[in-house]
């Protein structure tokens, strides 16, 4: 079981969600985060004083899935989230040992389906 985490541009969320659903993944969890990276933030004005907002709004997706689906989900994300511009984001893959569905208590891959 793996967790695929993707940091993407907020306005791509809808597309990515659809791309992931298209490869047969049922669930995912999304959070609003702020990113700091190569993409530079914007300036803001405050009564004639300028300052730079370094953290940019990003969206983090977390999907836990069985190992066989990792490849196709990663590909789907790369395709759907890419704009070719700096700041498109990152995908991280890490191991997950167990998943449990709270409602039923089921565990393992079946909890993800």
């Amino acid at each position: 079981m793996r967790k695929v985490e993707a940091i993407i541009k907020p306005f791509k969320l809808e597309d990515v969600k659809e791309a992931i659903a298209a490869v047969g993944v049922q669930g995912l969890t999304v959070s609003e985060v702020k990113g700091f990276g190569r993409q530079k933030g914007h300036k803001e004005l405050y009564r004639g004083a300028e300052y730079v907002v370094e953290f940019l709004p990003k969206v983090k997706l977390e999907v836990v899935l069985s190992d066989d689906k990792v490849r196709s989900v990663v590909d789907a994300i790369v395709k759907a989230a890419g704009t070719g511009n700096i700041g498109d984001g990152k995908i991280f893959i890490s191991p997950v040992e167990e998943a449990i569905r709270i409602r039923t208590g089921e565990s393992g891959d079946i909890a993800l389906s």
Partner: protein, 468 residues
């Protein structure tokens, strides 16, 4: 870095260009300044021959109410309308809306001072019963508010109060239009559009309807427009439709849902509009009397009916009544009762309220979806359509036979109302189109896609609405 600088450079250039355009516009007027200053001594004298020949006395009660009404109508735009509209956009664009309302308020005030009041209300050359150029537009006798001294009187109030009261109408009208192109128009384009549209559309239409004996619609045709159904709402609504068509849809519309980012702002703004509208309609009596009282009463009734009908239609159609629907219905009712508020009775108000609520519901839903334009905040759907409904029904319910206050022949009056509306629609439609096209080919109407995606707040104003 380089990119930033370049962008900034461009903006500066734009800024300069905008100012130049605005000045070019105002330029000829400045010529008058010296002369006006020179004339300053004559001003007191000049007042004697001002719009009010017999120099009647000021009534302090009427004046008190008009001062109050002026405050109420300004309150409708800032903060009223800006909250109503601001809550409806996505959070990345909220400041752009507030900023537009605020800047329009300032800009129109300056233009009104320089020449707007004169172009709208100067009566030089007008004659009762006679059609001439001045039936369409005022002259320059009052540029830089020449003649507006503390002693000048019009009707029973100081002229200064009348000038200020009318100014607040001139402010809110272009501010209403921004609902159509919200979330995608350049700020510079908004300013230039406001300046030109105010000059070439608002001021003349206002003159034709309200400047008194000899004016085309108000006096020669006898169009009834108590508080601005034609001048304000049809006018703004048609400009909004033209703008929505010309500027095109927002990126993602209609597939991506773009729900209001802060409905508490919107409902708050709706409440403020309702309250402020008392100044708009009852203030249009230009007196604190039975006519003002009746105007307030029918305003309240029509608004309530429109809010209720919209709410119940939603309830039936979708299973749930929504706050946005109810608030929008209220605004539709306020719009529709505006031209009628001085002439209809309570029963007319009920009918106008119900009709406008129901018809605007269609305008903001089926019609918009059917025709496929993106009138983002339903400026046309509510003000254009509501204004038309009101203008036409005024021709019916103003009749004493239906509880109204005017002895009219309903059919004749209805036709007159229709005539007034059509002329406004055509004139405003054509001029708005020309103005917008002109801006489009010069400085451009629309922000680029990256700016639209990022949101206008950061990209045009370098500010964020919220850091909570």
């Amino acid at each position: 870095m380089g990119l930033t600088l370049r962008l900034r450079g461009t903006s500066v250039v734009r800024g300069v260009r905008i100012l130049a355009l605005l000045l070019a516009l105002a330029g000829p007027m400045f010529a008058a300044w010296g002369q006006d200053a020179a004339d300053a001594v004559d001003v007191a004298a000049a007042t004697e021959e001002a719009p009010t020949p017999e120099a009647p006395a000021i009534d302090s009660g009427d004046t008190a109410w008009l001062l109050t009404s002026t405050a109420l109508v300004l309150f409708m735009t800032i903060p009223g309308l800006s909250l109503f509209y601001g809550g409806l956009v996505r959070s990345k664009n909220v400041l752009s809306v507030l900023m537009q309302c605020f800047a329009i308020t300032a800009l129109v005030t300056l233009l009104w001072t320089i020449y707007g009041y004169s172009v709208a209300f100067d009566t030089t050359g007008m004659e009762d019963g006679t059609f001439n150029l001045n039936s369409l537009v005022g002259g320059f006798a009052h540029i830089f508010l020449k003649g507006v001294t503390p002693d000048a009187v019009t009707l029973t109030i100081p002229l200064s109060v009348f000038v200020c009261f009318q100014l607040t109408f001139a402010i809110i009208t272009p501010a209403l239009i921004i609902g159509a192109f919200a979330e995608r128009m350049k700020f510079s384009a908004v300013l230039v559009f406001t300046a030109l549209w105010f000059t070439f559309v608002y001021a003349p239409i206002c003159h034709m309807v309200w400047s008194g004996p000899g004016s085309l619609m108000g006096s020669l045709w006898g169009v009834l427009d108590f508080a601005g159904g034609t001048v304000v709402h049809i006018n703004a609504g048609i400009a909004a439709l033209v703008a929505a068509l010309l500027i095109g849809k927002r990126k993602g519309y209609p597939t991506t849902p773009m729900p209001p980012h802060n409905m508490t702002m919107t409902v708050t703004g709706a409440g403020m509009l309702w309250v402020g509208w008392f100044g708009f309609n009852a203030g249009s009596a230009v007196a604190a009397n039975g006519s003002a009282g009746m105007a307030m009463l029918v305003t309240q009734i029509a608004t309530a009916c429109a809010a209720l009908i919209w709410m119940f239609i939603e309830w039936f159609k979708h299973g749930k009544p929504s706050a946005l629907g109810t608030a929008t219905g209220a605004v539709a009712g306020l719009v529709a009762i505006t031209p009628a508020s001085g002439t209809v009775g309570p029963m007319g108000a009920i009918v106008i309220g119900l009709a406008s609520g129901a018809i605007c519901f269609l305008g903001a839903t089926s019609l918009k979806r059917g025709l496929g334009y993106d009138d983002s905040l339903d400026a046309f759907g509510v003000h254009g359509i509501g204004g038309l409904v009101g203008a036409l029904l005024t021709g019916i319910f103003a009749s004493t036979s239906l509880g109204g206050q005017v002895e009219i022949d309903i059919v004749t009056q209805f036709i007159q109302q229709l005539k007034g509306s059509v002329v406004t629609i055509v004139y405003c439609g054509v001029l708005s189109f020309i103005i917008l096209k002109l801006i489009d080919v010069t400085i451009g109407l629309r922000v680029d896609e990256a700016q639209e995606t990022q949101g206008l707040d950061i990209s045009l104003h370098e500010e964020a609405g919220y850091n909570i």
